[in-house]
Symmetry: C2
Subunit: 272 residues, 2 copies
């Protein structure tokens, strides 16, 4: 099974393009986890159990775990192990936004693909394809390259024009035509910029896209889905983090997370 | 004391521009550490004790620690704590090559500046200044932005031309003129490209540069120093990793590390 097939199977199984972003900021966890010995894991476990039949992917962002040092890394691993053991069909994206030079990347490859056992990692393009080979060579895992990010100031460099093309378009072209020899590349394009998302889709054919920025960041679901679907009416992982996991800060947080995930899945499917 | 002053003091104290890269790959540690309960820390401690009076900085790269998961992170923290306790004047750069969008970066800020207590972190520029604010706002810490990296394929995007200027030159300009309101920015420019290093120095005035690529990567010391010095005959942290820490794989590794550090310091100083 190729890594694209694993993603397609996850999408088909739950008829869902939704990824839940497990950005489990320790400061925002519901009161009941304050004295838990492994609060981030316990919160994630409850969230995952409440949503696993409605999603294609989970996407923990490493920043929220590293903030707690070694303890956080332990709980991130517990979270990944829990998903793999109980819901092995679901795609795990580690939103790590890494990229170093050649050999050094092997450390991140070991961390994300072997120690955590995730299916995919997000990566910065700035150092070029040659630097990222240790990731790209892992045919069994997806390399998700940042292309047009969801933040307000993403255009500062990404929109610079080189011979009439914007930098993010050149990244999209290169990744599609040159970096993807192993059929394991994806791109990050934010839901907050549907026109740029549509431009990327034109460049990349059926390549799967990771699309953050729905929910708290304000991306519009209809525009996002219409701009980003591929010819198979999928090819997107649409992520919401805070809008789902912190929909309630009370004891009903897991029920509310399920409610929001269901709502988002169905709204997305309306436009597929 | 500003963060630039801390760096200048470290350089002056040991009359050294040398940074030792603590890229303590577990697979490459000398035999004697194989059964150590904290092998990376024990190796680092011996290396630090042998070189602390010859360097301005230590630069651990997170990849080599994350490769071991939570255990590695623990030993990275032990390493930083050891430096801060015993050699508090020495500058600590965490070579993490991070960058996420706004709020998410707070997790990395906590990890690197508060949990590890480092002086500086390396960052990707691709998401723009707006995204990196949580780092830039920390006046007491340095944000070291990747500009022209030392790897063979670094030109793929970094050399793309925008209105006659290369992308890495635009990064250097923006960081110097716009991002550095708090006087805490630096740039990464590889020793493997002395012409580009000279071009960056022209753009950035006296801004301090982190210069990796000496030693195992093949950068030439004379060319590097002549291209990169600022008007105070400093303004550079010149890093060597494998060339120092793995100069010997035997029991004399610390002596050899000292020897190589001394040799590099003196060769650099010959051209200052």
């Amino acid at each position: 099974m190729t890594i694209y097939q694993k993603l397609e199977n996850a999408i088909t199984k739950n008829n869902s393009l939704v990824s839940v972003g497990l950005d489990s900021d320790i400061a925002k966890l519901p009161e009941q986890f304050k004295n838990d010995p492994t609060p981030q894991f316990a919160f994630n476990k409850a969230t995952i159990d409440a949503t696993h039949d409605l999603v294609c992917a989970y996407k923990p962002n490493t920043a929220f775990y590293e903030a707690r040092g070694a303890r956080g890394i332990d709980e991130l691993k517990m979270t990944c192990d829990y998903i793999k053991t109980n819901y092995p069909d679901i795609f795990i994206v580690i939103d790590a936004k890494r990229a170093d030079i050649g050999n050094t990347n092997k450390g991140y490859v070991e961390f994300v693909f072997d120690y955590l056992g995730a299916d995919a990692i997000t990566l910065h393009p700035y150092l070029g394809q040659e630097a990222l080979r240790p990731f790209l060579e892992r045919k069994d895992k997806a390399s998700i390259i940042l292309c047009r990010t969801s933040n307000q100031g993403s255009g500062e460099f990404q929109d610079l024009k080189i011979n009439g093309k914007k930098l993010y378009q050149i990244v999209a072209e290169r990744v599609t035509k040159e970096w993807n020899a192993n059929g394991n590349c994806m791109l990050v394009t934010g839901a907050t910029y549907p026109e740029e998302l549509a431009a990327v889709r034109k460049i990349v054919g059926d390549l799967p896209l990771l699309v953050p920025g729905i929910g708290a960041q304000g991306g519009n679901v209809e525009k996002t889905v219409k701009a980003g679907l591929n010819s198979k009416k999928q090819g997107m992982i649409i992520n919401s983090s805070r809008g789902i996991i912190f929909a309630s800060s009370g004891e009903d947080f897991a029920d509310k997370a399920r409610e929001e995930t269901l709502k988002l899945r169905d709204e997305i499917n309306k436009y597929r």
